[in-house]
């Protein structure tokens, strides 16, 4: 017997299924058209990941290609405590490798944290030793670390990179943008095991690595300068010091040292005072090294000649004030050349009076004092030369022998370089070439002026040679080479406007060989214990530096 379904029921059933199909079709149609993007985005989000591709920070090399700073990926050790079977045993095993106590490690593992770093940026040998332990629940993550193979060598010139990856001080600070590069990104589909799918979606924007910099610094000369400066500071028990070595032919900085110093790879533990680059960011009253500048200006203006003489009474009266020679010595008839040889303050006052305040001020400006030299290092100080309108009559005399003005050791070195090279003031620079994706860019030396004529420069050079050969700077003489230079002893200004009692800054500025100068060096010692005789140690440091530089540069002796 066959039962028949009523047509009405069939129509209802048909209508029901037809409606259902219509609804489903509409819904499917919606997701395939209007809602497609949202659906696709949701699905894509589940399988894709977006990574920031960090740019490699550029390397820094010395002029011979030796690595001064580079970035490497080091392994950071992390722990997932819940996955460590025996935390006490793990802490005991890790403690000697990480150089910490097992109690400290145990406390960290028992702190309740789900995930924590035990030590970041481990040395590779330590990371390997930890890995060899095979402790479950421990893992490694790569993190970039800026390394300086020379440790503290050239720390002040190089600067450092902070924890945020930002370069500070020195070259790292001045060229941070170029060194840092630009990060890229990678959007990629991943499988459930977090592996990239080769046939999946892949959108990559390549990172632009930072530029590599080649400096004008020479690692051998830098090491020599730091050794000599450190020895002088230790001998004098000085509170600090700095040294600059320039190539006078173009202003390239061959070495730059400053003490106290620091390890740029461990800035967190450094004394804040040690971070200051005393050759560039610190100013001092140069003292008698400034006499060469005063005399160069006067000779250039034909106000005096090397043979111009005056009667030295041991002092000079100017602006109603009496300015004495060091130790009150009276020399009698003294030529301008002997003013340098004897470092007579009264003689410098005499020369300045012949020149006049206006012209002296103009020459100080022409030699680059009172303004930044433009060196490509971070945080350069400008020094201080007061405007002429603020000069008291006595200032003409004191500034003539380097008191009442503030300079950086680098400014003084650049000024002496102008005397050494025939009268051209070059802007000191430390980066010789920059190499990036576009190729290698050489940085051309910049001549910022010609404060004195070549004839004047030659005359002053000879006078400075005489100062070393026959005068106060004999301690800087070097067998086989003609050396030009001048000592400087300056008092230290105090907060109340007077000078600190019985404390000095000793310095020496010179170059060699005087017949064809290949380097200029300025050495400054702060508060040497031998007081006025600190210049002896400064000259010893110069001599040691000169011997190494001339040997390194393969310079032939110019004297028999």
């Amino acid at each position: 017997m066959t039962e028949t379904v009523s047509p009405a029921r069939l129509r209802v059933l048909f209508a029901f299924f037809a409606s259902a199909m219509l609804l489903v079709s509409l819904r499917v149609g919606y997701w395939q058209t209007i809602g497609r993007a949202a659906l696709l985005e949701g699905a894509t989000d589940q399988v894709t990941s977006e990574l920031v591709l960090g740019a490699q920070r550029g390397n820094i090399y010395d002029r011979t290609g030796a690595i001064l700073a580079t970035t490497v990926q080091l392994r950071s050790l992390y722990a997932i405590p819940s996955r460590i079977a025996d935390r006490a045993a793990a802490a005991a095993a890790l403690a000697p490798l990480l150089g910490t106590s097992s109690d400290t490690l145990r406390a960290a593992l028992d702190s309740g944290a789900e995930w924590l770093y035990l030590r970041r940026r481990l040395p590779e040998e330590t990371a390997r030793a930890v890995e060899a332990l095979g402790i479950g629940g421990l893992g490694f993550e790569m993190e970039p670390k800026r390394l300086y193979p020379g440790d503290t060598i050239a720390a002040q010139a190089l600067g450092f990179v902070n924890d945020d990856g930002v370069g500070q001080n020195g070259v790292e600070g001045a060229y941070d943008e170029a060194l840092r590069g630009a990060p890229g990104s990678l959007v990629v589909e991943r499988d459930p095991q977090n592996r990239e799918l080769a046939i999946g979606l892949r959108t990559a924007v390549a990172p632009r690595d930072g530029a590599d910099l080649t400096l004008t610094l020479d690692l051998v000369i830098q090491t020599s300068v730091e050794r000599a400066l450190r020895a002088a500071i230790e001998k004098e028990r000085a509170t600090g010091g700095s040294a600059v070595v320039l190539d006078p032919r173009d202003g390239a900085i061959l070495a730059l040292a400053s003490f106290p110093t620091y390890d740029p790879a461990n800035v967190a533990t450094a004394d804040p005072e040690s971070l200051r680059n005393r050759a560039v960011s610190w100013t001092y009253e140069p003292g008698s090294t400034m006499k060469a500048i005063t005399i160069a200006a006067a000779i250039d203006q034909r106000a005096v000649t090397p043979e111009t003489a005056y009667d030295d009474k041991g002092y000079a009266i100017i602006g109603g004030r009496r300015l004495n020679n060091a130790l009150g010595k009276a020399y009698g008839r003294t030529t301008v050349t002997q003013v340098l040889e004897r470092s007579a303050n009264a003689g410098a006052v005499f020369v300045a009076q012949q020149l006049g305040a206006e012209r002296l001020r103009a020459y100080l400006d022409a030699f680059g004092f009172g303004r930044r030299s433009g060196v490509d290092l971070a945080a350069e100080a400008s020094g201080s030369v007061r405007p002429l309108a603020e000069w008291y009559p006595v200032d003409l005399g004191t500034i003539a022998y380097g008191q009442g003005v503030a300079v950086t050791p680098l400014q003084l070195a650049a000024a002496y370089a102008a005397i050494a090279n025939g009268g051209t003031l070059y802007q000191p620079y430390v980066v010789a070439t920059r190499r990036d994706a576009d190729g290698e860019h050489r940085i051309a030396p910049v001549a910022s002026g010609r404060p004195i004529s070549p004839d004047t420069a030659a005359t002053v050079r000879q006078m400075l040679v005489s100062t070393v050969d026959d005068g106060i700077a004999k301690g800087a003489s070097l067998p086989g080479f003609s050396v030009a230079g001048k000592t400087g002893t300056a008092q230290i200004p105090s907060a109340d406007g007077s000078y600190v009692s019985d404390e000095y800054i000793s310095s020496f500025a010179g170059f060699a060989p005087a017949s064809d100068p290949r380097f200029v060096a300025v050495i400054v010692l702060e508060r040497p214990q031998s007081k006025l005789y600190g210049t002896v140690s400064a000259m010893s440091a110069f001599r040691a530096i000169a011997a190494d530089v001339l040997r390194e540069e393969r310079v032939q002796p110019d004297r028999g």
Binding site: A66, P149, T223, S224
Partner: protein, 131 residues
């Protein structure tokens, strides 16, 4: 009609045929052969199509699997390359550290070497004059 139906249909048709005397067999064979041929042809064509599609699918899958496997291999080799580069960078740092003049000087001091006080320079003119 799908292939399986074609296969099943043949026996039914054969069963429906009345038995014929032996003399008529060649004729019947030819007729049966004509009918089977069409069915077999259809079966073979559909089977071939299915096999072809299956092979195509297998080919695609094998290619996709190969690409995927190659992708994993590329990723693995990339990781190996990155690690070798890292090790190379570490070795370069170590080399620079060992080449540092300060370290060499310290090592020289440690083994008792001292700095020379003077370095004699032979002048070319003097040598030439003696020749």
């Amino acid at each position: 009609m799908i292939a399986s139906q074609a296969v099943r249909a043949a026996p039914r048709r054969r069963a429906a045929l009345p038995r014929q005397p032996h003399a008529a067999r060649p004729v019947r064979r030819r007729a049966a052969a004509g009918s089977v041929t069409w069915e077999v042809r259809t079966f073979v064509a559909v089977s071939a199509a299915i096999a072809f599609v299956f092979l195509l699918a297998m080919l695609y899958l094998s290619q996709a699997t190969a690409v995927s496997t190659a992708g994993y291999e590329v990723q693995r080799l990339g990781a190996v390359r990155d690690e070798l580069r890292r090790q190379n960078a570490l070795l370069e740092v170590e080399s620079a550290r060992l080449d540092a003049p300060a370290r060499i000087e310290a090592e020289a001091k440690r083994i008792g070497l001292v700095r020379v006080s003077t370095i004699p320079v032979v002048r070319i003119e003097a040598v030439a004059a003696k020749r």
